[in-house]
Amino acid sequence: MQERLQVLVLDDEPIVGKRLQPALAKVGCDVEVFDAPGPALQRVAAKRFDIVVTDIRMEDIDGIEVLEDVLERWPTTKVIMITGYATVEVAREAMAKGAFDFIAKPFKPQELRDVIARAAEALGFAGIERAAADDPA
């Protein structure tokens, strides 16, 4: 039995977390969901996540700050950015600051799973993607 992937999802749209939780849990992730950056960063301070998925554009603290904060604390954590619309500058800035990848809204759950699978592979986890495809549940 493989260790489960620890994932934090941060998006100020509550529905995003609500839907991604079961979607990612199905492929072997332990998912914690936040819809405000403050509590999410507090949680990050307390626990190391393998993967952090964060929206870029949020009310108080934006995703770039979250990215910086997470990487400062956990340099090995893979951070995946969600953007409202992918612009070159935002993507370049995120990548330059060490984001693993970014995904543009609107996206399908499977698209995020694919990115997470790649991140997991980079981290040494295996089988996330396959698990998603194979697991009939």
């Binding site: 609500k18 839907r19 079961p22 979607a23 809204k105 609107p106 759950p109 549940a137």
Partner: protein, 524 residues
């Protein structure tokens, strides 16, 4: 420009149809400037001709007088000659033939001169003269007859005839001398008049020239200064057509018609500018809307995908929750798009009673995504009991969107923008103050910010039409926009709009009660 009342057209001006104004111009009889100038000079010519003809008539009359005077002198001479021969006859007893000859000459002269003499002496006197002459002739004839018949001559008769002859003779001489004297006096009077005439003519000509020149100058300068005032009014944004003021038309009327055409074109172009700037504002808003739209779409995608994926394994209430989310997010997307579409719709300008609060709320919600994207903080302070205004909802919301977007541009991330509405210190006006704590506007640029195509933004980012178009719209509503700014201390734009007076009053009533003395003026 600030004290130009034309810069503040009424909120709903009774703008007459331009083509009907043009017809009104063309209906008037044409009296051109050229015709008036020609008329002025013609009056001079007529005057000169009249003076010439008058002088000619008087001169020819004078000529006749002189001729008459000559005749009168000759007549006097003939009479005097006759009397001299008569005296000789009585003293020395000569013959009377010479007397008769001279008298006959005198009679011929009298007959010849009669028509002219009537001017100088009364016809009764002339008749008396003729009587004297006749009587003298008769007496001379009797003397001649008496001398011919010596024998039967009555000696006593001769002195009586002599006395009578003397009497008539002296009277004739006196008459003739008086006639000549009178005539001479009359000729002298005429000559004196002729001496004064050129001076009088010159004086009159001088006065007449001054009057005509003055009249012509007024005819040209008056309309010119009116046209000049109109161009200033146009520069202030007032495109009310010129109305005919006179009962006739001339070159200035043609010019006015051309000016009206130009104003119509300008007004049309202004509309095009408003519309094209709106398109650019829509472009800016669209990026925000697109971003905002992604959220509900993303929610829908995720929810729908998961519903499809897990359909079989989900509990009924979970499925219901997901479907509900779909419905709610669908409505959210619709609302975002509808707001923008309302703004973008190219509608007729309709004046209606408006709640300013609602207009501001609409503008703020249109810019909401931009606000979110810019990372600026916005504070809205709008009292709910604000007086209503009259105006076009779309245009006014365009004004406030413009001001908001400008403020957001100026502050950038972490800046503050505030919208405060309230009654203005200008009586009868409502004001909306949009202020920011952004970089501010340098003093040398401040007077230009309302100029069309003036922009401080980089090429391609701003059209330079926002403030110009906004001011145009607000002026059409009878209001004004004022700006205060200092570099580094942010900018404050104050939009003044006339308040609708009392509920139920028509627009005209509201205008009638609007204080006109306190119209606001623009400090820039």
């Amino acid at each position: 420009m600030a004290d130009n009342p034309a810069a503040f057209p009424d909120a709903a001006p009774e703008v007459p149809d331009a083509s009907s104004v043009e017809r009104a111009f063309l209906r008037r009889p044409s009296i051109g400037i050229r015709a008036r100038l020609a008329l002025g000079f013609l009056s001079f010519i007529v005057f000169a001709v009249a003076v010439t003809v008058g002088a000619w008539i008087m001169l020819s009359r004078l000529e006749r007088r002189l001729r008459f005077l000559e005749v009168a002198d000759r007549y006097t001479m003939e009479i005097q000659q006759a009397r001299r021969f008569e005296k000789n006859y009585f003293l020395y007893g000569g013959n009377l033939q010479d007397v008769q000859e001279h008298i006959a000459n005198a009679r011929r002269l009298l007959v010849a001169v009669a028509p002219d003499a009537a001017e100088v002496v009364a016809s009764a006197e002339l008749g008396k003269m003729r009587d004297h002459l006749g009587r003298y002739e008769t007496l001379i004839a009797r003397l001649v007859a008496r001398d011919g018949a010596h024998a039967s001559a009555d000696r006593a008769e001769r002195p009586a005839i002599e006395a009578e002859l003397r009497d008539h003779g002296s009277q004739m001489v006196a008459f003739a001398l008086e006639l000549a004297e009178k005539e001479r006096a009359s000729v002298n009077a005429t000559l004196a008049l002729f001496k004064r005439l050129p001076v009088a003519f010159l004086a009159f000509l001088l006065m007449f020239s001054v009057v005509v020149a003055n009249f012509l100058a007024r005819q040209i300068v008056g309309p010119l200064s009116r046209l000049m005032a109109t161009t200033q009014r146009i520069a202030g944004g007032d495109f009310t057509p010129l109305m005919p003021l006179r009962w006739y038309r001339d070159e200035f009327s043609t010019f006015s018609v051309a000016l009206n055409t130009m104003m119509r074109e300008l007004a049309r172009r202004q509309e095009v500018l408003v519309q094209s700037h709106k398109l650019s504002a829509i472009g800016t808003l669209t990026s925000g809307v697109a971003h905002e739209l992604n959220n509900p779409i993303n929610n829908i995608t995720l929810t729908a995908e998961m519903l499809k994926e897990d359909y079989g394994s989900l509990a009924d209430e979970e499925r219901l929750d997901m479907v509900n989310d779909l419905v709610v997010q669908g409505a959210r997307a619709q609302k975002i798009v509808r707001n923008l579409l309302d703004f973008a719709r190219e509608g007729e300008i309709t004046t209606e009673r408006l709640d300013l609060v609602e207009v501001l709320r609409q503008a703020a919600s249109l810019a909401a995504n931009q606000i979110k994207l810019s990372g600026a903080k916005i504070a809205i302070d709008v009292p709910s009991n604000l007086p209503a205004i009259h105006g076009d909802r779309q245009s006014l919301s365009q004004v406030f969107v413009n001001l908001l977007l400008n403020a957001l541009d100026a502050v950038g991330k972490g800046g503050h923008v505030s919208i405060a509405a309230g009654t203005s210190r200008e009586p009868g006006y409502v004001q909306v103050v949009v202020s920011d704590d952004g970089r501010g506007i340098p003093a040398h640029v401040l007077p230009k910010v309302f100029d069309p195509f003036f922009t401080t933004k980089s090429r391609g980012k701003g059209t330079g039409l926002g403030l110009s178009v906004s001011l145009g719209i607000v002026r059409q509503h009878g209001g004004d926009i004022r700006v205060e700014s200092a570099p580094g201390r942010g900018s404050t734009f104050t939009v003044l709009l006339p308040a609708a007076m009392v509920p139920g009053l028509t627009e005209n009533d509201a205008q009638a009660t609007r204080p006109s003395a306190s119209k606001p003026s623009r400090p820039v």
